[in-house]
Symmetry: D2
Subunit: 140 residues, 4 copies
């Protein structure tokens, strides 16, 4: 069984480019986050509903490898999948690619913990936990 990979596209914004003329690396954090947002929307349980139910998904770890820079007006794709699901947390992995050529610009992994508004660690809603089976083969 293979993992579900959800892809979403962005056109690089002028405000995302730095003095080197390339996308400043802080913006990949936002791209990955929107990769997760799109993942949740396409699987039918948007993150806005997750929060409306009183949960938050804290980021506990981010690991990004930057392979090739991106530029203003370039179309990039964020491809997002789940590699680990626990009752109270999960791991996403990503590739960021050039939409036209498919060339990999960055790879990333983020780890998350589910908390309540009061800040207590909590079990995630069952729908989210069902998105990943332990025997999934997750390499895209």
């Amino acid at each position: 069984m293979s993992a579900v990979i959800i892809s979403t596209q962005f056109t690089v914004r002028y405000a995302e480019v730095d003095a080197m003329g390339i996308v400043h690396h802080r913006n990949y954090i936002t791209y990955l986050e929107e990769g997760r947002s799109e993942y949740a929307r396409q699987r039918g349980f948007p993150y806005s509903q997750f929060e409306a139910q009183g949960f938050f998904l804290l980021v506990s770890e981010v690991h990004i490898r930057h392979i090739k820079p991106a530029h203003y007006e370039q179309s990039i794709s964020v491809n997002t999948w789940i590699t680990e699901m626990k009752s109270r947390g999960m791991t996403f992995e990503y590739t960021v690619t050039d939409t036209q050529t498919g060339e990999i610009l960055a790879t990333a992994q983020t780890k998350h913990i589910c908390i309540t508004k009061a800040g207590q660690i909590a079990k995630m809603p069952q729908t989210w936990r069902d998105w990943h089976q332990p025997d999934d083969k997750n390499t895209p």
Copy 2:
């Protein structure tokens, strides 16, 4: 011989806080970058001069562990040191702490490659390379 640790302080800005009421994790990327800026300034060779000499320090890898959230108006410290120096690249490590209590909010590592304006990998200026000796003990 121990590594030189340079510390710099920030007051969390309102624009850095997200819907959870905590510093959005993309801002740590900027805090770390300013940790590097301050490191270079305090050691006498600011990064603006580095770029004025025709070099750029590309970010090739970022790894952050978020331990405790930060809030609006909180004073945080970024403590920055070098753990690896090669002729064409280097590694910085960091702790982000609460300035008052010293409590660790995040730990991080970033890897960098030196390039020219034309995009060619290049040797870093000697002054930067002298900042780190191979036998440094780098754990703060």
Copy 3:
């Protein structure tokens, strides 16, 4: 003769929302800028080409009225048109609307000056100057 109005859509990103749970007002600056980017692309002379020819369009003035807040995952539209064209500068006007309902969230005006890489004020490329005729009626 009426002005050409170019419309572009965005889904509000999580990183764009602040502690009040609404889009932080700094992001409208970016939305307007991408409104201009889309305007130039759809009229056949993208801003990336403008810069490739050695020109920059400096922002000299920004005026935004915020009427209604926007939220995470909301689809918003930026509608962009030109209200003034001089040889060395121009004025854009905008509405930011809810894509579904058409309700106005913000109105804005930005003024710009054309400069060269060396920072000298310069005439804009003729194609851009042709985008607006003095007798245009520009109220949408």
Copy 4:
């Protein structure tokens, strides 16, 4: 009686600079906001306490004139004062200057409305309303 002007300093961050090598204009929104934050802190009623009491200060209007660009590592000052105080809203004005030379980089005005968490327009806390007297002469 003259208005109270509160000044705060920033060192321009690398992430704040754009492809033109100057501070991207969206960052002035954040500088002004931190000007207001510092104003409230120095006058003894920080904005974090304002929110803790259940109020928010919505931005209803922003007007910025950009006079001269700022660069990476430049020290800039934001000088903030109040020009209008109503029971349910207020107006701030600002200059952004080069800290060393005093040269004006930008001037700005922002208007605000006080709301509750539920989104109702509300009277501001009396301490804030006392910060400005109708007969103040507010031109710095």
